[in-house]
């Protein structure tokens, strides 16, 4: 076993862990009255290093390390880059918006970085137990972050709700892992894929698949496992929502892709209809509920459910088309959703001073920059061409049509018409002039700090780039799709596995 190469395979995770530990140590050694802001910069630079390390990993030979538990491939690199990118933007966003006097700022930054470790591990793990560890690391960090505003009533409520329901879902996943071990005698993803069709008890396999789907669909807030979403989004601080509505979801979707396309491709006839139904349910339930929301964050929570549905439509596509469409959608959704939460964070502040849609009336006139960015991200969420949201939907639904699910595509696009209503309501509220507008325009416009400005710029650039020149990202997702479709040569893996087994 090549230890150095193994370490290279988890280099981003290692860098992130070191950064997190460093942030916590420095936090503990700083005098209580000192500003914790530099810690945020440390965290951001560490994450940037991890980002660079992930890209560098492309030069490694595709394959697994640590006895076949962790994989490096274009697929994992794509998701590493995406997750690190999201974390960088949300860290920048938090830097300027967290109040100076809030408690435990150091832990806040550290938790974000630790969360990133878990998510990255989740995408690169090809051993179900490591997957579980990754999922837990990321979940626990987000549980705590969700309750970060513990002085408000809604903060702890959000955290506890998220924690209870989340643990329940994780239990399902764990049960699924146990069942799949029972059925196939292994927890290594490629091994399972090989053994699944020869497994003596197919009922067990199907049950395992079902359990794992429940666990993951909860994490991506797909209906009917979506009940937690609005409450948690409402209670958590906006920068945290920007993070948890995108990065953990990206990781969970990456794992879902692994489950269905790498572990159980032979069971397509089982999971495809299930995901079809879940997709339709998610988008319909999400959009119908969002229509009635007045609270911005609750509305966006339901919109997140709907977007999970659009994304699941891609799973109707065959093989690499489906995988690359889903991956692209995750990236596009992350870019625009982080962007819109960045705008909401700046406009509403840390304490959510603007909870309702009508509070945004005249934003375009008070602060033209913020207002136009808000409208831009909403336009992208609607799915208007030349934005990332459009190509996301486009690839997702064309994968569905290519996979023969024309009805699903029609339902999906009808849904995006429905969704346009509430996004537009929000956008038009920002464009409308309000009564106190005139004097408000004489007030100094909202201050945008350097870090927040960088965050906004990154999110905008990403959303635009995905809408105008999606070629590069698409090539990356397709490369990822191919590695997921064709796992590394079989002979390497079992040798490693048997070796570990023997050692135990």
């Amino acid at each position: 076993m090549n230890t150095v190469l193994d370490m290279y395979r988890i280099l981003p995770e290692v860098i992130l862990t070191i950064t997190g530990v460093l942030v916590m140590l420095v936090d503990a050694s700083l005098a209580p009255f000192r500003s914790r802001r530099p810690l945020g910069w440390v965290a951001a630079s560490g994450t940037t290093a991890a980002y660079a390390a992930s890209i560098w990993q492309l030069s490694l030979p595709v394959g697994t390390g640590f006895s076949g538990t962790v994989e490096t491939s274009p697929f994992t690199v794509f998701f590493h880059v995406l997750i690190c990118g999201i974390v960088i933007v949300t860290l920048l966003l938090s830097l300027d918006t967290l109040p100076e006097d809030s408690h435990h700022q150091g832990e806040y930054y550290a938790l974000m970085v630790f969360g990133a470790v878990g998510m990255c591990l989740l995408t690169s793990a090809v051993e179900l137990l490591v997957v579980f560890i990754g999922l837990e690391i990321s979940s626990i960090s987000t549980y705590i972050l969700a309750g970060y505003r513990k002085q408000t009533g809604k903060g702890p409520e959000a955290a506890i709700k998220y924690f209870l329901l989340g643990s329940f879902a994780t239990a399902f996943l764990l049960y699924g892992i146990a069942l799949v071990f029972g059925a196939t005698g292994t927890t290594q993803v490629y091994e399972i894929a090989r053994n699944v069709s020869s497994a003596p008890n197919q009922v067990l396999v199907n049950a395992a698949l079902g359990m794992m789907l429940v666990g993951i669909l909860f994490k991506v807030s797909a209906a009917p496992f979506h009940i937690w979403t609005p409450d948690v989004y409402e209670g958590a601080p906006s920068p945290v929502v920007a993070l948890m509505s995108t990065a953990p979801k990206a990781a969970a979707f990456a794992f879902l892709l692994r489950i269905v396309y790498e572990m159980f491709p032979t069971l397509r006839s089982v999971w495809a209809p299930v995901l079809w139904i879940v997709a339709v349910l998610s988008m319909t339930v999400g959009n119908l509920a969002a229509l009635r929301q007045q609270n911005v964050k609750r509305m966006l929570a339901y919109s997140a459910i709907a977007h999970a549905g659009y994304l699941l439509a891609a799973f109707a596509g065959f093989g690499s088309t489906g995988i690359s469409a889903a991956s692209f959608y995750i990236a596009a959704y992350a870019a625009m959703n982080v962007g819109i939460f960045a705008v909401i964070t700046i406009a509403g502040g840390y304490g959510d001073e603007r909870p309702l849609v009508q509070d945004y009336k005249g934003l375009l006139h008070r602060s033209p920059l913020l207002g136009s960015l808000l409208i831009f991200f909403l336009v992208s969420l609607i799915g208007i061409p030349f934005t990332g949201g459009f190509f996301g939907k486009f690839y997702s639904f064309s994968a569905a049509v290519g996979g023969g699910a024309v009805i699903l595509a029609i339902i999906g696009l009808m849904n995006s018409g429905l969704a346009a209503a509430y996004y537009l309501r929000f956008a038009l509220a920002a464009a409308q002039r309000s009564a106190e507008d005139e004097e408000a325009s004489r007030m100094p416009s909202m201050q945008v700090g350097i870090a927040v400005g960088a965050a906004l710029l990154l999110a905008t650039a990403a959303t635009l780039a995905l809408g105008i020149v999606p070629g590069g990202t698409l090539r990356a997702t397709e490369a990822g799709a191919h590695t997921l479709q064709a796992p590394p040569a079989a002979s390497v893996v079992p040798a490693d596995i048997t070796a570990t087994r023997a050692n135990q």
């Binding site: 486009f394 064309s398 049509v401 290519g402 995006s416 209503a421 537009l424 309501r425 409308q432």
Partner: protein, 510 residues
């Protein structure tokens, strides 16, 4: 130059929008910038007719570069006889729109003009895209600035009208996108010319082609609008700023019908044509009757437009060459006339701050120049010979009479008579008769130089288009049709022998 001109036309307004957005919102600076940009683009569009080879059928000034590898989306643009003049028309309406907003838009000029310029780019894009995805992109893009501006500058309840407009036009484009994706899944291309051949060769199964064609038609019919899908029109006309309202209806949808519905699915379009003919004739009469009873002149204009747009729809679905040429020509006329009417009504509204027809009366004494131009434009709209409206209406109605059915043609002609009735009655109520109290209370305030600068050229153009329509029809008739014709003939010889297109053998060979 030939290959870059269309790209330039697309990019100049966009660059202008950026400049407007970046420079400070001080005084009339954004308006001047927008005027310069639109004028420059307008001048650029002249290049097209000047260098258009009208002895040649097919697309010219073509650029075809790969944009995205998979799915194979190409930056594929070009114009033919059908779209050539529409591009110039968009160019002309650019400065007209800016000048029409010169005094009426007094707040937030920066937002207004930058969105206005984005809208220009989107419209150019719709007319020159030959790749279905690029086309769809511009089609959707054109909705956004419109909706935002309606919400921002609505007269009473802009937000509601904006929502209505957006949803009415966005929801039908969902099936359109699915249809486009389905075509791609079947044929592997978004290229219009290739698709035309592939669809004709039967790469799309017949029953699927029916639904795909229907999805296309539905999206376009809402945008035109065709009766009974016109629910958004009156509210949008009533609320939208003048410069936006004058471009919202008609040309995008009608052009798309000719190009993509009939162009790609001639057989399916021919099969559904009887329904469209019936709806068009109903629309002509319905719009005219409602226009007669409107109290507000924006709503009046909306129903008048519905009536006239339905007439063009009739020309398109009559499936005759004459009808198509007439329709393509009438789209230009209709847009010009509507633009002029919008400017005129806008001028009245800015002076008297009301759009209620009954509040006006005897304006001819107060504003003689305005009244003169209004009468000229009204006569063009009614279809008086020597003015442009006559040529288009004549071509459409005569083709309907000869190529479709005498009954429909007769009823449609009735609509033309009604249009004279409501238009002249309006002129009489607003400009002649007893001077109203409101008109008497205000000092006379005729058209000022800027407004005349917009209106006189439009009026003169109407006259030129009426006297020598061949300048336009000549190139319009080069729009590619042979493929369409063969198929429509094949279909009609089986299904409806009485609806054979009126074409001579000479035209077929050309």
């Amino acid at each position: 130059m030939d290959s870059t001109i269309l790209t330039l036309i697309l990019l100049v307004p966009l660059a202008g929008a950026l400049v407007v957005a970046l420079l400070p919102d001080r005084g009339k600076l954004p308006a001047w910038l927008a005027l310069i940009t639109t004028l420059a683009t307008f001048v650029l569009t002249w290049h097209l007719p000047a260098h258009f080879n009208s002895s040649q059928s097919g697309f010219q000034f073509v650029v075809n570069r790969q944009w995205i590898e998979s799915p194979a989306i190409y930056y594929h643009i070009g114009v033919d006889g059908l779209s050539l003049w529409l591009v110039v028309l968009v160019g002309l309406l650019g400065p007209v729109g800016v000048l029409a907003s010169w005094n009426s838009i007094t707040r937030r000029r920066k937002v207004f003009y930058s969105l206005f310029l984005v809208q220009q780019t989107a419209m150019y894009g719709v007319f020159i895209s030959l790749d279905l995805m690029v086309y769809y992109g511009f089609w959707e893009l054109s909705l956004v600035p419109m909706a935002i501006l309606i919400a921002m500058y609505g007269r009473k309840d802009g937000q509601k009208a904006a929502m209505k407009f957006f949803l009415f036009t966005f929801i039908p484009s969902a099936p359109l996108l699915v249809a486009i994706l389905y075509l791609y899944a079947r044929t592997g291309t978004f290229n219009f010319s290739e698709l035309r051949i592939l669809v004709a060769a039967g790469s799309v199964p017949t029953d699927a082609a029916f639904w795909v064609a229907l999805a296309f038609l539905f999206a376009f019919a809402v945008k035109v609008p065709v009766f009974p899908l016109h629910g958004w029109l009156a509210d949008t006309f009533g609320e939208a700023p003048v410069a936006m309202a004058m471009v919202v209806a008609g040309k995008l949808g009608l052009y798309s019908m000719l190009r993509f519905h009939i162009g790609l699915f001639p057989v399916q379009a021919h099969a559904i044509a009887p329904l469209l003919i019936a709806l068009a004739v109903i629309g002509i009469l319905y719009g005219a009757c409602l226009a007669l009873v409107q109290r507000d002149f924006w709503r009046f204009l909306a129903f008048a437009a519905l009536s006239h747009l339905s007439l063009i729809t009739l020309g398109i679905y009559g499936f005759t060459f004459t009808g198509w040429s007439g329709a393509a020509f009438q789209i230009l006329n209709n847009e010009l006339i509507d633009a002029a009417l919008f400017v005129l009504f806008g001028a009245l509204e800015i002076r008297y701050a009301t759009s209620e027809i009954a509040a006006y009366g005897g304006m001819a004494n107060r504003t003689p120049r305005l009244a003169t131009i209004f009468v000229v434009v009204s006569l063009a709209m009614i279809g008086l010979p020597l003015l442009n409206g006559f040529v288009g209406e004549f071509l459409i109605l005569s083709s309907t009479f000869a190529g479709v059915n005498h009954g429909w043609a007769t009823v449609a002609t009735l609509g033309v008579i009604l249009s004279a009735a409501y238009m002249l009655w309006l002129v009489q109520r607003v400009f002649y008769g007893q001077e109203s109290r409101m008109a008497a209370a205000e000092p006379p305030n005729d058209l000022h130089l800027g407004e005349q600068l917009v209106l006189w050229p439009l009026a003169v153009l109407m006259l030129i288009m009426g006297v020598s329509p061949n300048l336009w029809l000549q190139s319009i008739e080069t729009a590619p049709k042979p493929l369409v014709l063969q198929q429509a003939r094949a279909a009609s010889s089986i299904a409806q022998p009485d609806a054979v297109p009126v074409v001579s053998a000479g035209e077929v060979q050309r």
